[in-house]
């Protein structure tokens, strides 16, 4: 059985429509079953190599990041208490922003992926970690680990494609509502943690009758409880402790949360929506092999180049391709895997998308603007 599918393969600068004749089961990478199997085998080998040699140095790394993050958080909050003096406010807000970024990205996101479960430390474990974010960890683990990582960039299945708010792909239906999406994107970026929190409630599924209202209500209650505690901490208790100087503390905490929101939005959108990253249809993943799944992760992800500090602050999601190939390997090892994955991809003719932050983010912005219009 064959079908004709018109696919736009986008390069950095130009959009080149190509029409291919594909069998329904042909993999979007264009590789045949044997080639995919060989590719998958090489990826499995890389994965097994890291699993067999992860050890004390890795454990020391995450312990160190956690210690630094907590010290930054304490120092940032203390400095904000003296926030009536501008230098203290700036230093405090910067330290608290960095602490929240580290907690959500390099620590929380990765711990909840089970990257550190092998240490068998009950305090640094995917089953127990609760992150500094209004989204309850169990809901995040469902929407992110299960849905997004299994169905990466499959339109209609991966709910991270536009987060149900933004039109990312020309194959998503257009309506007038999309015209406002540059504004929606800015609002989503600013309030990103709330967007993430509401994501797993799947309001559209409830409206379609595919999810019960009771389930959604229970999730909303959990978000309200966790969110309430987060708001109480950042906007009532810590400011109140500063007495007459409550306002600088409150504004500092708000700044830190917004900075973290903007940063995580940017990194995450750069991971899947720059030019050159493919999105897939449900037919693309019919009977997908393990090798096929690996190849789709590469096609559907993009890396961001940068310094060591940049990689850590991005939670090593700057190595989005390696993260999607190996979501449960310790994040500190993605950097050494990247050149090896890239070489294997090039060998197999699988495009490997890696550019600077400004280029990736610029193309994401252009895409959001372009898809506001029909086509």
């Amino acid at each position: 059985m064959t079908s004709t599918l018109s696919v736009e393969r986008e390069t950095d600068h130009t959009i080149v429509p190509i029409t291919t004749l594909r069998t329904v089961h042909q993999h979007p990478s264009g590789l045949d079953a044997d080639e995919l199997e060989a590719f998958g085998k090489l990826m499995d080998d890389l994965r097994n190599e890291i699993i067999s040699n992860r050890g004390k140095a890795d454990a020391d790394y995450i312990h160190r990041v956690i210690a630094v993050q907590r010290r930054l958080e304490v120092a940032g909050r203390l400095a904000l208490f003296a926030g009536v003096f501008p230098p203290f406010w700036v230093a405090g807000a910067a330290m608290l922003s960095t602490a929240k970024i580290l907690e959500n990205m390099e620590i929380g996101h990765n711990v909840m992926h089970g990257q550190w479960d092998w240490m068998r430390d009950p305090e640094i474990h995917s089953s127990t970690w609760e992150w500094d974010n209004v989204c309850p960890s169990d809901q995040w683990k469902h929407s992110h680990n299960e849905i997004h990582h299994t169905w990466t960039n499959v339109i209609g299945r991966d709910r991270d494609v536009g987060y149900g708010i933004l039109r990312i792909d020309e194959r998503q239906p257009w309506s007038k509502v999309a015209l406002g999406q540059p504004v929606y994107a800015a609002v989503l970026a600013t309030l990103f943690q709330w967007g993430v929190a509401l994501h797993d409630v799947e309001i559209e599924e409830v409206m379609k009758g595919r999810k019960t209202k009771a389930d959604a209500k229970a999730q909303l209650a959990a978000i309200a409880k966790k969110g309430g505690r987060q708001l109480l901490k950042d906007y009532v208790l810590f400011p109140a402790m500063a007495g007459p100087f409550f306002l600088p503390v409150l504004v500092g905490n708000l700044t830190a949360n917004v900075v973290r929101n903007l940063w995580t939005f940017s990194i995450i959108f750069c991971g899947h929506f720059p030019d050159g990253v493919e999105r897939f249809t449900e037919e693309d993943v019919v009977d997908e092999s393990r090798g096929g799944w690996y190849a789709r992760q590469v096609l559907g992800s993009a890396n961001i180049e940068g310094s060591k500090v940049f990689h850590i602050l991005s939670g090593n999601l700057s190595h989005q391709i390696e993260h999607h190939l190996f979501p449960d390997l310790p994040s500190n090892r993605y950097g050494e895997l990247a050149p090896r994955v890239r070489a294997i991809c090039e060998q197999h003719g699988i495009p490997y998308n890696s550019r600077s932050f400004s280029r990736q983010f610029g193309s994401v912005i252009r895409r959001i603007a372009r898809r506001a219009l029909p086509g």
Partner: protein, 361 residues
Amino acid sequence: MFTTVLERTARFGATLSSPLPVDAFARLVDPLWSSTVCRARVTRIMRETPDSASIVLRPGRGWESHQAGQWIAVGVDIDGVRHRRPYSLTSVPVRADGCITITVQAVPDGVVSNFLVHQLQVGEIVHLDPPNGDFTLGSHSSSPLLFITGGSGVTPVMGMLRTLDAADVALDAVHLHYAASPDQAIFADELRRLAVRHSGFGFKFGATGTGPIPPELALTTRRLDALCPDWSARETWICGPAPLLAAAEAIWESAGISDQLHSERFQPSLTATNGTKAGIVQFLDSGVETPGDGIRPLLELAEEAGLSPKHGCRMGICHTCVVRLNSGSVLDLRDGRIQSDEGDFVQICVSAPCGDVSLEL
């Protein structure tokens, strides 16, 4: 009034540190500060024999003092991975310096025991579970006592004898101790000195060599009569390898005084019986699958699959590790008993999968 203030302070602190517990920040100041778990710092390591060492630990807040003869599960990070194993406490329960001691015998291929005996450094932090076990003197401190120990089975008894010694009571006890050779006999010198100081304490040592116990040293009624003529009038505590325990249990039973014999195995005698069957083990709650060979216990399989099931003694005593069986059969490695009813509680530390199994873990 005071407690409500404390509770309120604790609740306030927990909200400030949320979603992390207060401990997460307290340990930045002192790694032993915790209100939820107990950690300890290694303050001294004393070699007892070439293959054993006593480790002095200073526990942080939350340590509940133990009874002599009990054990604790000690958690250590080896090559980045947390391992927990039970070890007997050999110190008196309340030392003046607030420290406790465990004594560890390195066993061949024992990852944790070899690490503790040969690689652990003073200053390292270990994790402690509350003390556990009913191999204690109870109300018998002033009764005539008999102790029979083999190898590192001496460790809980050493804790009891040190405690009796410190209590300054007239000791009426006999201790028969077996080890492979005199230089492998943990605490032999201290026990001999104790016998010199207490006229009511007799210490008798037998070197068994490696391999099966020589017939002339085997525990028999006749040998007991020779070494401790009034043995049947004494409350007896025995700890050591399975054959020693089996011999004692038979003797005490035929004398009709089984209730006077208190026994503890220091290592499980896990022997898979015939009928072992490989299969796939499903840990349902964790969504993890792993192959089982029908010989190794479920707890080990789960740990290798990256899970960290709650557990204690790892030898089928404490029931900390029980989980519900969802489907399939499991084999009790101690006695070959098969459990296969849905909803059965399985002690995963001593049970191997028998074919395909799914567990609520």
